[in-house]
Symmetry: C2
Subunit: 259 residues, 2 copies
DNA sequence: CGAATAGTGTCTGTGAGACAGTATTTA
DNA sequence: TAAATACTGTCTCACAGACACTATTCG
Protein backbone atom coordinates (compact mmCIF):
# COMPACT_ATOMS: atom_id res chain seq x y z
CA UNK A 1 0.00 0.00 0.00
CA UNK A 2 2.82 2.41 0.74
CA UNK A 3 4.97 3.81 -2.02
CA UNK A 4 8.07 3.74 0.19
CA UNK A 5 9.23 3.38 3.72
CA UNK A 6 9.66 7.08 4.24
CA UNK A 7 5.95 7.20 4.87
CA UNK A 8 6.08 4.83 7.79
CA UNK A 9 4.75 7.30 10.30
CA UNK A 10 3.73 10.86 10.57
CA UNK A 11 6.91 12.18 12.18
CA UNK A 12 9.21 11.23 9.35
CA UNK A 13 6.74 11.99 6.59
CA UNK A 14 8.36 14.64 4.46
CA UNK A 15 8.14 14.31 0.74
CA UNK A 16 8.06 11.10 -1.19
CA UNK A 17 11.20 10.11 -3.01
CA UNK A 18 9.05 8.28 -5.48
CA UNK A 19 7.82 9.58 -8.75
CA UNK A 20 4.40 11.18 -8.41
CA UNK A 21 1.93 12.22 -11.11
CA UNK A 22 2.54 15.52 -12.88
CA UNK A 23 -1.11 16.44 -12.93
CA UNK A 24 -4.69 15.25 -12.81
CA UNK A 25 -6.90 17.19 -15.19
CA UNK A 26 -10.63 16.81 -15.67
CA UNK A 27 -11.72 16.73 -19.30
CA UNK A 28 -15.31 17.21 -20.34
CA UNK A 29 -17.25 15.88 -23.29
CA UNK A 30 -20.02 18.42 -23.65
CA UNK A 31 -22.97 17.17 -25.65
CA UNK A 32 -25.83 19.24 -26.89
CA UNK A 33 -28.62 18.74 -29.38
CA UNK A 34 -29.08 21.57 -31.80
CA UNK A 35 -32.39 22.03 -33.47
CA UNK A 36 -32.96 23.95 -36.61
CA UNK A 37 -36.21 24.78 -38.30
CA UNK A 38 -36.39 23.01 -41.61
CA UNK A 39 -39.02 25.29 -43.05
CA UNK A 40 -38.98 28.58 -41.17
CA UNK A 41 -42.42 29.80 -40.33
CA UNK A 42 -44.04 26.47 -40.96
CA UNK A 43 -45.15 24.31 -38.10
CA UNK A 44 -42.92 21.37 -38.63
CA UNK A 45 -40.55 19.37 -36.48
CA UNK A 46 -37.03 20.78 -36.42
CA UNK A 47 -33.97 18.92 -37.68
CA UNK A 48 -31.97 17.85 -34.64
CA UNK A 49 -28.34 16.91 -34.42
CA UNK A 50 -26.10 15.68 -31.62
CA UNK A 51 -23.08 17.94 -31.28
CA UNK A 52 -20.14 18.26 -28.97
CA UNK A 53 -17.98 21.16 -27.98
CA UNK A 54 -14.26 21.27 -28.74
CA UNK A 55 -11.61 23.89 -28.24
CA UNK A 56 -8.56 24.59 -30.37
CA UNK A 57 -5.33 24.34 -28.42
CA UNK A 58 -3.21 27.45 -28.26
CA UNK A 59 -0.03 25.86 -26.92
CA UNK A 60 2.28 22.90 -27.05
CA UNK A 61 1.49 20.04 -27.03
CA UNK A 62 -0.88 19.55 -29.95
CA UNK A 63 -0.90 23.26 -30.66
CA UNK A 64 -3.63 24.14 -33.12
CA UNK A 65 -5.40 20.80 -32.79
CA UNK A 66 -8.89 20.42 -31.43
CA UNK A 67 -9.28 18.99 -27.95
CA UNK A 68 -11.78 18.51 -25.18
CA UNK A 69 -12.28 21.39 -22.79
CA UNK A 70 -10.84 20.77 -19.38
CA UNK A 71 -8.11 21.75 -17.02
CA UNK A 72 -5.89 20.75 -14.18
CA UNK A 73 -7.27 19.93 -10.80
CA UNK A 74 -6.17 21.83 -7.68
CA UNK A 75 -5.35 20.23 -4.40
CA UNK A 76 -8.34 21.76 -2.65
CA UNK A 77 -11.02 20.51 -5.01
CA UNK A 78 -12.34 17.14 -6.10
CA UNK A 79 -12.08 16.15 -9.74
CA UNK A 80 -15.84 16.69 -9.95
CA UNK A 81 -15.56 20.23 -8.63
CA UNK A 82 -12.75 20.82 -11.08
CA UNK A 83 -14.92 19.67 -13.97
CA UNK A 84 -17.75 21.89 -12.79
CA UNK A 85 -15.42 24.87 -12.57
CA UNK A 86 -13.95 24.26 -16.01
CA UNK A 87 -17.41 23.80 -17.48
CA UNK A 88 -18.41 27.18 -16.13
CA UNK A 89 -15.23 28.81 -17.40
CA UNK A 90 -15.46 27.28 -20.86
CA UNK A 91 -19.15 27.53 -21.56
CA UNK A 92 -20.53 29.85 -18.94
CA UNK A 93 -23.13 27.33 -17.86
CA UNK A 94 -23.81 25.88 -14.45
CA UNK A 95 -26.42 23.48 -13.15
CA UNK A 96 -26.31 21.10 -16.05
CA UNK A 97 -26.06 17.35 -16.02
CA UNK A 98 -22.41 16.53 -15.31
CA UNK A 99 -21.28 13.00 -14.76
CA UNK A 100 -17.97 11.27 -14.30
CA UNK A 101 -17.48 8.29 -16.54
CA UNK A 102 -13.88 7.11 -16.86
CA UNK A 103 -10.20 7.62 -16.12
CA UNK A 104 -7.47 7.74 -18.74
CA UNK A 105 -4.07 6.78 -17.48
CA UNK A 106 -2.23 5.00 -20.26
CA UNK A 107 1.51 5.70 -19.89
CA UNK A 108 2.81 8.41 -22.25
CA UNK A 109 -0.69 9.59 -23.11
CA UNK A 110 0.48 13.15 -22.49
CA UNK A 111 3.89 14.39 -23.65
CA UNK A 112 4.07 16.78 -20.70
CA UNK A 113 4.59 13.90 -18.31
CA UNK A 114 2.65 11.51 -16.14
CA UNK A 115 -0.82 12.90 -16.38
CA UNK A 116 -3.96 11.04 -15.38
CA UNK A 117 -7.11 12.46 -16.87
CA UNK A 118 -10.63 12.15 -15.48
CA UNK A 119 -13.31 12.29 -18.12
CA UNK A 120 -16.78 13.70 -17.60
CA UNK A 121 -19.75 14.05 -19.81
CA UNK A 122 -22.02 17.03 -19.69
CA UNK A 123 -25.45 17.25 -21.26
CA UNK A 124 -26.36 20.81 -22.04
CA UNK A 125 -29.60 22.05 -23.46
CA UNK A 126 -28.84 24.13 -26.51
CA UNK A 127 -30.58 27.14 -25.06
CA UNK A 128 -27.72 27.45 -22.54
CA UNK A 129 -25.24 27.63 -25.37
CA UNK A 130 -27.12 30.28 -27.30
CA UNK A 131 -24.45 32.95 -26.84
CA UNK A 132 -21.69 30.55 -27.71
CA UNK A 133 -23.16 29.65 -31.09
CA UNK A 134 -22.94 33.17 -32.42
CA UNK A 135 -19.15 33.01 -32.58
CA UNK A 136 -19.42 29.91 -34.73
CA UNK A 137 -16.74 28.62 -37.07
CA UNK A 138 -14.19 31.33 -36.67
CA UNK A 139 -13.78 30.85 -32.95
CA UNK A 140 -11.46 28.59 -31.02
CA UNK A 141 -14.45 27.11 -29.26
CA UNK A 142 -17.02 25.46 -31.43
CA UNK A 143 -19.66 22.78 -31.70
CA UNK A 144 -19.09 19.84 -34.04
CA UNK A 145 -21.58 17.19 -35.10
CA UNK A 146 -20.48 13.96 -33.44
CA UNK A 147 -20.05 12.21 -36.76
CA UNK A 148 -17.59 14.90 -37.73
CA UNK A 149 -15.81 14.92 -34.37
CA UNK A 150 -15.29 11.15 -34.54
CA UNK A 151 -13.45 11.54 -37.82
CA UNK A 152 -11.12 14.26 -36.54
CA UNK A 153 -7.62 13.76 -35.22
CA UNK A 154 -8.02 15.14 -31.73
CA UNK A 155 -5.25 16.02 -29.27
CA UNK A 156 -3.98 13.45 -26.75
CA UNK A 157 -6.27 10.39 -26.51
CA UNK A 158 -9.31 12.61 -26.72
CA UNK A 159 -10.58 10.61 -29.68
CA UNK A 160 -10.87 7.55 -27.43
CA UNK A 161 -12.54 9.62 -24.75
CA UNK A 162 -15.12 10.94 -27.20
CA UNK A 163 -15.89 7.44 -28.44
CA UNK A 164 -16.33 6.15 -24.89
CA UNK A 165 -18.51 9.11 -23.97
CA UNK A 166 -20.74 8.56 -26.95
CA UNK A 167 -21.16 4.89 -26.10
CA UNK A 168 -21.98 5.84 -22.53
CA UNK A 169 -24.52 8.50 -23.38
CA UNK A 170 -26.25 6.12 -25.81
CA UNK A 171 -26.62 3.45 -23.15
CA UNK A 172 -27.86 5.97 -20.60
CA UNK A 173 -30.28 7.50 -23.06
CA UNK A 174 -32.10 4.18 -23.27
CA UNK A 175 -31.76 3.05 -19.65
CA UNK A 176 -32.35 6.27 -17.73
CA UNK A 177 -34.40 9.39 -18.18
CA UNK A 178 -31.51 11.66 -19.18
CA UNK A 179 -33.48 12.51 -22.31
CA UNK A 180 -34.98 15.17 -20.06
CA UNK A 181 -31.69 17.09 -20.29
CA UNK A 182 -32.42 17.81 -23.93
CA UNK A 183 -36.10 18.58 -23.54
CA UNK A 184 -38.22 21.30 -21.99
CA UNK A 185 -40.04 20.36 -18.79
CA UNK A 186 -43.14 19.58 -20.82
CA UNK A 187 -42.85 17.93 -24.20
CA UNK A 188 -44.74 15.80 -26.65
CA UNK A 189 -44.14 12.11 -27.29
CA UNK A 190 -42.98 13.07 -30.76
CA UNK A 191 -40.27 15.33 -29.37
CA UNK A 192 -39.10 12.67 -26.95
CA UNK A 193 -38.88 10.15 -29.76
CA UNK A 194 -36.92 12.55 -31.90
CA UNK A 195 -34.44 13.29 -29.10
CA UNK A 196 -33.87 9.61 -28.43
CA UNK A 197 -33.32 8.94 -32.11
CA UNK A 198 -30.91 11.84 -32.40
CA UNK A 199 -28.65 10.23 -29.80
CA UNK A 200 -29.35 6.59 -30.70
CA UNK A 201 -30.11 6.37 -34.42
CA UNK A 202 -30.64 2.60 -34.18
CA UNK A 203 -33.58 3.08 -31.84
CA UNK A 204 -36.62 2.38 -33.97
CA UNK A 205 -40.03 1.98 -32.46
CA UNK A 206 -42.92 2.30 -34.79
CA UNK A 207 -45.91 2.76 -32.51
CA UNK A 208 -43.77 4.65 -29.97
CA UNK A 209 -46.80 6.68 -28.90
CA UNK A 210 -48.80 3.56 -28.31
CA UNK A 211 -46.16 2.07 -26.07
CA UNK A 212 -45.60 5.18 -24.01
CA UNK A 213 -49.28 5.88 -23.47
CA UNK A 214 -50.61 2.38 -22.92
CA UNK A 215 -51.69 2.09 -19.31
CA UNK A 216 -49.03 1.48 -16.71
CA UNK A 217 -46.75 -0.31 -19.13
CA UNK A 218 -43.98 2.23 -18.88
CA UNK A 219 -44.28 2.04 -15.13
CA UNK A 220 -45.13 5.66 -14.80
CA UNK A 221 -42.01 7.25 -16.25
CA UNK A 222 -44.18 9.86 -17.93
CA UNK A 223 -47.30 11.62 -16.81
CA UNK A 224 -49.60 13.91 -18.80
CA UNK A 225 -49.10 17.60 -18.07
CA UNK A 226 -52.06 19.39 -16.56
CA UNK A 227 -52.77 23.04 -15.80
CA UNK A 228 -53.92 24.46 -12.44
CA UNK A 229 -57.48 23.31 -13.08
CA UNK A 230 -56.39 19.79 -13.81
CA UNK A 231 -57.16 20.08 -17.50
CA UNK A 232 -54.81 18.30 -19.89
CA UNK A 233 -52.28 20.57 -21.54
CA UNK A 234 -51.62 20.33 -25.23
CA UNK A 235 -49.24 22.02 -27.60
CA UNK A 236 -49.09 22.61 -31.29
CA UNK A 237 -45.71 24.29 -31.49
CA UNK A 238 -44.41 21.62 -33.85
CA UNK A 239 -47.55 20.22 -35.34
CA UNK A 240 -50.83 21.07 -36.90
CA UNK A 241 -52.92 18.96 -34.65
CA UNK A 242 -52.27 19.79 -31.01
CA UNK A 243 -50.41 17.09 -29.14
CA UNK A 244 -50.67 16.07 -25.51
CA UNK A 245 -47.81 17.35 -23.36
CA UNK A 246 -46.03 15.03 -20.95
CA UNK A 247 -43.48 15.40 -18.18
CA UNK A 248 -41.11 12.95 -16.53
CA UNK A 249 -42.44 11.78 -13.20
CA UNK A 250 -39.01 11.55 -11.61
CA UNK A 251 -39.16 7.86 -10.96
CA UNK A 252 -36.36 5.88 -12.54
CA UNK A 253 -37.23 2.32 -13.44
CA UNK A 254 -35.03 -0.48 -12.26
CA UNK A 255 -34.04 -2.70 -15.13
CA UNK A 256 -33.22 -6.37 -14.98
CA UNK A 257 -32.43 -9.07 -17.47
CA UNK A 258 -33.92 -11.71 -15.20
CA UNK A 259 -37.49 -10.59 -14.81
CA UNK B 1 -6.11 23.88 -19.89
CA UNK B 2 -2.55 24.53 -18.76
CA UNK B 3 -1.59 24.64 -15.13
CA UNK B 4 0.92 27.41 -15.74
CA UNK B 5 2.77 29.25 -18.42
CA UNK B 6 5.96 27.31 -17.88
CA UNK B 7 4.42 24.63 -20.03
CA UNK B 8 4.05 26.85 -23.02
CA UNK B 9 6.26 24.82 -25.29
CA UNK B 10 8.50 21.83 -25.21
CA UNK B 11 11.81 23.67 -24.95
CA UNK B 12 11.03 25.41 -21.70
CA UNK B 13 9.11 22.51 -20.18
CA UNK B 14 11.03 21.53 -17.11
CA UNK B 15 9.07 20.79 -13.99
CA UNK B 16 5.87 22.42 -13.00
CA UNK B 17 5.99 24.98 -10.25
CA UNK B 18 2.47 24.04 -9.41
CA UNK B 19 1.37 21.62 -6.82
CA UNK B 20 0.96 18.13 -8.25
CA UNK B 21 -0.69 15.05 -6.73
CA UNK B 22 1.30 13.03 -4.23
CA UNK B 23 0.09 9.73 -5.54
CA UNK B 24 -2.58 7.86 -7.46
CA UNK B 25 -3.30 4.48 -5.91
CA UNK B 26 -5.69 1.84 -7.15
CA UNK B 27 -7.88 0.33 -4.45
CA UNK B 28 -9.82 -2.85 -4.98
CA UNK B 29 -13.08 -4.05 -3.52
CA UNK B 30 -12.77 -7.82 -3.84
CA UNK B 31 -16.10 -9.62 -3.60
CA UNK B 32 -16.57 -13.32 -3.29
CA UNK B 33 -19.45 -15.58 -2.40
CA UNK B 34 -18.64 -18.23 0.15
CA UNK B 35 -20.74 -21.34 0.31
CA UNK B 36 -20.97 -23.61 3.24
CA UNK B 37 -22.78 -26.90 3.55
CA UNK B 38 -25.60 -26.52 5.99
CA UNK B 39 -25.91 -30.24 6.70
CA UNK B 40 -22.66 -31.95 5.79
CA UNK B 41 -23.20 -35.15 3.92
CA UNK B 42 -26.75 -34.30 3.00
CA UNK B 43 -27.63 -33.22 -0.46
CA UNK B 44 -28.90 -29.77 0.26
CA UNK B 45 -28.23 -26.31 -1.06
CA UNK B 46 -25.34 -24.58 0.67
CA UNK B 47 -25.68 -21.37 2.65
CA UNK B 48 -24.12 -18.58 0.61
CA UNK B 49 -22.85 -15.25 1.76
CA UNK B 50 -21.38 -12.23 0.00
CA UNK B 51 -18.02 -11.35 1.46
CA UNK B 52 -15.26 -8.91 0.75
CA UNK B 53 -11.59 -8.94 1.44
CA UNK B 54 -9.92 -6.41 3.70
CA UNK B 55 -6.38 -6.00 4.98
CA UNK B 56 -5.24 -4.64 8.29
CA UNK B 57 -2.92 -1.67 7.93
CA UNK B 58 0.55 -2.04 9.38
CA UNK B 59 1.58 1.62 9.20
CA UNK B 60 0.54 5.18 9.67
CA UNK B 61 -1.99 6.43 8.72
CA UNK B 62 -4.84 4.37 10.16
CA UNK B 63 -2.41 1.85 11.57
CA UNK B 64 -4.21 -1.25 12.75
CA UNK B 65 -7.46 -0.38 10.98
CA UNK B 66 -8.95 -2.44 8.20
CA UNK B 67 -8.70 -1.08 4.66
CA UNK B 68 -9.15 -2.07 1.06
CA UNK B 69 -6.24 -3.76 -0.63
CA UNK B 70 -4.49 -1.58 -3.16
CA UNK B 71 -1.33 0.28 -3.87
CA UNK B 72 0.29 3.17 -5.60
CA UNK B 73 0.45 3.38 -9.33
CA UNK B 74 3.73 3.65 -11.19
CA UNK B 75 4.38 5.99 -14.06
CA UNK B 76 4.75 3.15 -16.56
CA UNK B 77 1.43 1.45 -15.90
CA UNK B 78 -2.22 2.38 -16.23
CA UNK B 79 -4.39 2.45 -13.14
CA UNK B 80 -6.01 -0.74 -14.44
CA UNK B 81 -2.65 -2.50 -14.73
CA UNK B 82 -1.84 -1.30 -11.25
CA UNK B 83 -5.06 -2.79 -9.88
CA UNK B 84 -4.34 -6.06 -11.67
CA UNK B 85 -0.85 -6.19 -10.22
CA UNK B 86 -2.04 -5.42 -6.71
CA UNK B 87 -4.78 -8.00 -6.98
CA UNK B 88 -2.20 -10.62 -7.88
CA UNK B 89 0.09 -9.55 -5.06
CA UNK B 90 -2.65 -9.46 -2.44
CA UNK B 91 -4.67 -12.52 -3.35
CA UNK B 92 -2.52 -14.49 -5.75
CA UNK B 93 -5.26 -14.60 -8.35
CA UNK B 94 -5.21 -13.47 -11.94
CA UNK B 95 -7.79 -13.62 -14.72
CA UNK B 96 -10.74 -12.62 -12.62
CA UNK B 97 -13.38 -10.03 -13.34
CA UNK B 98 -11.80 -6.67 -12.58
CA UNK B 99 -13.60 -3.47 -13.34
CA UNK B 100 -13.00 0.20 -12.70
CA UNK B 101 -15.92 1.99 -11.14
CA UNK B 102 -15.07 5.36 -9.59
CA UNK B 103 -12.51 7.90 -8.53
CA UNK B 104 -12.16 9.32 -5.03
CA UNK B 105 -10.55 12.72 -4.87
CA UNK B 106 -12.13 14.63 -2.01
CA UNK B 107 -9.54 17.04 -0.59
CA UNK B 108 -7.86 15.77 2.61
CA UNK B 109 -9.16 12.25 2.12
CA UNK B 110 -5.66 10.97 2.83
CA UNK B 111 -3.49 12.51 5.57
CA UNK B 112 -0.36 11.73 3.58
CA UNK B 113 -1.21 14.44 1.10
CA UNK B 114 -3.02 14.98 -2.15
CA UNK B 115 -3.88 11.47 -3.15
CA UNK B 116 -6.44 10.53 -5.77
CA UNK B 117 -7.66 6.98 -5.52
CA UNK B 118 -9.08 4.86 -8.32
CA UNK B 119 -11.49 2.22 -7.12
CA UNK B 120 -12.00 -1.14 -8.77
CA UNK B 121 -14.22 -4.01 -8.02
CA UNK B 122 -13.13 -7.59 -8.46
CA UNK B 123 -15.41 -10.60 -8.49
CA UNK B 124 -13.57 -13.71 -7.44
CA UNK B 125 -14.94 -17.21 -7.30
CA UNK B 126 -14.33 -18.58 -3.85
CA UNK B 127 -12.34 -21.50 -5.19
CA UNK B 128 -9.57 -19.06 -6.15
CA UNK B 129 -9.37 -17.90 -2.55
CA UNK B 130 -9.19 -21.40 -1.09
CA UNK B 131 -5.64 -21.02 0.22
CA UNK B 132 -6.39 -17.61 1.65
CA UNK B 133 -9.28 -18.83 3.78
CA UNK B 134 -7.13 -21.20 5.78
CA UNK B 135 -5.38 -18.29 7.52
CA UNK B 136 -8.75 -16.97 8.63
CA UNK B 137 -9.33 -14.64 11.55
CA UNK B 138 -5.84 -14.39 12.88
CA UNK B 139 -4.36 -13.02 9.69
CA UNK B 140 -4.02 -9.46 8.47
CA UNK B 141 -5.92 -10.37 5.35
CA UNK B 142 -9.40 -11.68 5.80
CA UNK B 143 -12.86 -11.99 4.33
CA UNK B 144 -15.74 -10.19 5.99
CA UNK B 145 -19.46 -10.56 5.29
CA UNK B 146 -20.56 -7.34 3.61
CA UNK B 147 -23.07 -6.60 6.34
CA UNK B 148 -20.23 -6.68 8.83
CA UNK B 149 -17.86 -4.67 6.63
CA UNK B 150 -20.46 -1.93 6.20
CA UNK B 151 -20.64 -1.49 9.96
CA UNK B 152 -16.88 -1.21 10.41
CA UNK B 153 -14.87 1.97 10.64
CA UNK B 154 -12.56 1.52 7.69
CA UNK B 155 -9.42 3.51 6.92
CA UNK B 156 -9.58 6.62 4.70
CA UNK B 157 -12.91 6.92 2.86
CA UNK B 158 -12.94 3.20 2.21
CA UNK B 159 -16.35 2.92 3.84
CA UNK B 160 -17.79 5.11 1.07
CA UNK B 161 -15.95 3.11 -1.54
CA UNK B 162 -17.36 -0.16 -0.22
CA UNK B 163 -20.89 1.24 -0.23
CA UNK B 164 -20.54 2.48 -3.80
CA UNK B 165 -19.05 -0.82 -4.91
CA UNK B 166 -21.90 -2.76 -3.37
CA UNK B 167 -24.46 -0.57 -5.08
CA UNK B 168 -22.63 -1.03 -8.36
CA UNK B 169 -22.33 -4.80 -8.13
CA UNK B 170 -26.03 -5.07 -7.27
CA UNK B 171 -27.05 -3.11 -10.33
CA UNK B 172 -24.71 -5.10 -12.55
CA UNK B 173 -25.88 -8.39 -11.10
CA UNK B 174 -29.37 -7.67 -12.41
CA UNK B 175 -28.46 -5.97 -15.68
CA UNK B 176 -25.55 -8.06 -16.93
CA UNK B 177 -24.47 -11.66 -16.72
CA UNK B 178 -21.74 -11.16 -14.11
CA UNK B 179 -23.49 -13.80 -12.02
CA UNK B 180 -21.30 -16.14 -14.04
CA UNK B 181 -18.29 -14.97 -12.02
CA UNK B 182 -19.72 -16.69 -8.98
CA UNK B 183 -20.87 -19.86 -10.72
CA UNK B 184 -19.26 -22.85 -12.38
CA UNK B 185 -19.50 -22.98 -16.16
CA UNK B 186 -22.56 -25.20 -15.87
CA UNK B 187 -25.09 -24.62 -13.14
CA UNK B 188 -28.71 -25.16 -12.28
CA UNK B 189 -31.41 -22.52 -12.26
CA UNK B 190 -31.61 -22.94 -8.51
CA UNK B 191 -27.94 -22.10 -8.09
CA UNK B 192 -28.27 -19.03 -10.30
CA UNK B 193 -31.24 -17.84 -8.30
CA UNK B 194 -29.38 -18.34 -5.06
CA UNK B 195 -26.36 -16.40 -6.29
CA UNK B 196 -28.49 -13.49 -7.45
CA UNK B 197 -30.30 -13.42 -4.12
CA UNK B 198 -27.04 -13.52 -2.21
CA UNK B 199 -25.95 -10.30 -3.88
CA UNK B 200 -29.39 -8.68 -4.18
CA UNK B 201 -31.56 -9.87 -1.28
CA UNK B 202 -34.50 -7.82 -2.54
CA UNK B 203 -34.65 -9.83 -5.74
CA UNK B 204 -37.65 -12.08 -5.34
CA UNK B 205 -39.06 -14.07 -8.20
CA UNK B 206 -41.33 -16.90 -7.31
CA UNK B 207 -41.51 -18.96 -10.50
CA UNK B 208 -37.91 -18.06 -11.40
CA UNK B 209 -37.48 -21.40 -13.17
CA UNK B 210 -40.56 -20.81 -15.24
CA UNK B 211 -39.34 -17.40 -16.40
CA UNK B 212 -35.87 -18.57 -17.29
CA UNK B 213 -37.02 -21.62 -19.18
CA UNK B 214 -40.06 -20.28 -20.98
CA UNK B 215 -39.30 -20.12 -24.68
CA UNK B 216 -37.18 -17.27 -25.92
CA UNK B 217 -38.38 -14.93 -23.23
CA UNK B 218 -34.96 -14.45 -21.70
CA UNK B 219 -33.65 -13.76 -25.19
CA UNK B 220 -31.25 -16.63 -25.06
CA UNK B 221 -29.12 -15.59 -22.11
CA UNK B 222 -29.03 -19.20 -20.99
CA UNK B 223 -28.83 -22.43 -22.91
CA UNK B 224 -29.18 -25.99 -21.62
CA UNK B 225 -25.87 -27.83 -21.24
CA UNK B 226 -25.40 -30.89 -23.43
CA UNK B 227 -22.74 -33.58 -23.58
CA UNK B 228 -20.83 -34.67 -26.71
CA UNK B 229 -23.77 -36.71 -27.93
CA UNK B 230 -26.14 -33.80 -27.58
CA UNK B 231 -27.93 -35.31 -24.61
CA UNK B 232 -29.06 -32.89 -21.92
CA UNK B 233 -26.79 -32.77 -18.90
CA UNK B 234 -28.24 -32.90 -15.43
CA UNK B 235 -26.81 -32.66 -11.97
CA UNK B 236 -27.92 -33.70 -8.53
CA UNK B 237 -25.04 -32.27 -6.55
CA UNK B 238 -27.37 -30.11 -4.52
CA UNK B 239 -30.67 -31.83 -4.87
CA UNK B 240 -32.39 -35.14 -4.72
CA UNK B 241 -34.04 -34.91 -8.05
CA UNK B 242 -31.51 -34.22 -10.78
CA UNK B 243 -31.74 -30.72 -12.23
CA UNK B 244 -31.04 -29.52 -15.74
CA UNK B 245 -27.70 -27.77 -16.12
CA UNK B 246 -27.45 -24.48 -17.98
CA UNK B 247 -24.68 -22.25 -19.25
CA UNK B 248 -24.56 -18.61 -20.23
CA UNK B 249 -24.67 -18.17 -23.98
CA UNK B 250 -22.40 -15.15 -23.97
CA UNK B 251 -24.96 -12.76 -25.40
CA UNK B 252 -25.68 -9.75 -23.25
CA UNK B 253 -29.15 -8.31 -23.61
CA UNK B 254 -29.60 -4.63 -24.30
CA UNK B 255 -31.98 -3.07 -21.85
CA UNK B 256 -34.21 -0.09 -22.39
CA UNK B 257 -36.85 1.68 -20.41
CA UNK B 258 -38.62 2.74 -23.59
CA UNK B 259 -39.45 -0.54 -25.24
C1' DC C 1 -57.30 19.90 -51.10
C1' DG C 2 -52.63 17.84 -49.65
C1' DA C 3 -49.20 17.74 -46.21
C1' DA C 4 -47.78 17.03 -41.67
C1' DT C 5 -48.30 15.44 -37.17
C1' DA C 6 -51.24 13.02 -33.60
C1' DG C 7 -53.48 9.64 -32.30
C1' DT C 8 -57.06 5.09 -32.21
C1' DG C 9 -59.28 0.35 -33.48
C1' DT C 10 -58.53 -4.04 -33.78
C1' DC C 11 -56.46 -8.35 -34.09
C1' DT C 12 -53.02 -11.87 -32.83
C1' DG C 13 -49.66 -13.92 -30.17
C1' DT C 14 -47.02 -14.49 -26.22
C1' DG C 15 -45.29 -13.77 -21.84
C1' DA C 16 -46.15 -12.65 -16.66
C1' DG C 17 -48.00 -14.12 -12.61
C1' DA C 18 -50.32 -17.10 -9.62
C1' DC C 19 -50.67 -21.44 -7.53
C1' DA C 20 -51.56 -26.01 -7.14
C1' DG C 21 -50.08 -30.28 -8.59
C1' DT C 22 -46.58 -33.90 -9.99
C1' DA C 23 -41.64 -35.99 -10.25
C1' DT C 24 -37.43 -37.88 -8.30
C1' DT C 25 -34.26 -39.12 -4.98
C1' DT C 26 -32.42 -39.43 -0.21
C1' DA C 27 -32.30 -39.96 4.82
C1' DT D 1 -42.57 -42.11 4.38
C1' DA D 2 -41.33 -37.33 4.91
C1' DA D 3 -38.29 -33.96 3.28
C1' DA D 4 -36.03 -31.45 -0.24
C1' DT D 5 -35.48 -29.86 -4.65
C1' DA D 6 -37.18 -29.71 -9.56
C1' DC D 7 -40.23 -28.96 -12.38
C1' DT D 8 -45.27 -28.78 -15.14
C1' DG D 9 -50.44 -27.70 -16.06
C1' DT D 10 -53.50 -24.43 -16.45
C1' DC D 11 -55.74 -20.24 -16.21
C1' DT D 12 -56.13 -15.17 -16.67
C1' DC D 13 -54.77 -10.80 -17.98
C1' DA D 14 -52.06 -7.44 -20.06
C1' DC D 15 -49.04 -5.94 -23.22
C1' DA D 16 -46.19 -6.08 -27.88
C1' DG D 17 -46.36 -5.56 -32.52
C1' DA D 18 -48.47 -4.74 -36.78
C1' DC D 19 -50.94 -1.78 -39.68
C1' DA D 20 -54.62 0.52 -41.36
C1' DC D 21 -57.61 3.94 -40.17
C1' DT D 22 -59.30 8.52 -38.29
C1' DA D 23 -58.42 13.41 -36.36
C1' DT D 24 -56.83 18.18 -36.57
C1' DT D 25 -54.87 22.12 -38.42
C1' DC D 26 -52.02 24.72 -41.73
C1' DG D 27 -50.86 26.63 -46.14
Amino acid sequence: MEPNNELENESNYTASNYRTPDGAPSDIVIFTITSEEKAPGKKTMPARELQLLLIRRKRWPFEGQWALPGGFCDEDESVYDCAKRELLEETGVADVHLEYFNVYSKPKRDPRGWIISHAFLALVNERYLAGRRAQDDAADVRLFPVSEALAMDLAFDHGDIVRDALEKVRVKMLTTTIAKQFLPAEFTIGELYQVIRTVVPDFEEPNFIRKMTSTQSREGILEPARDENGALKRSNRYSQRAAQLYRFTGCEPKLSIYG
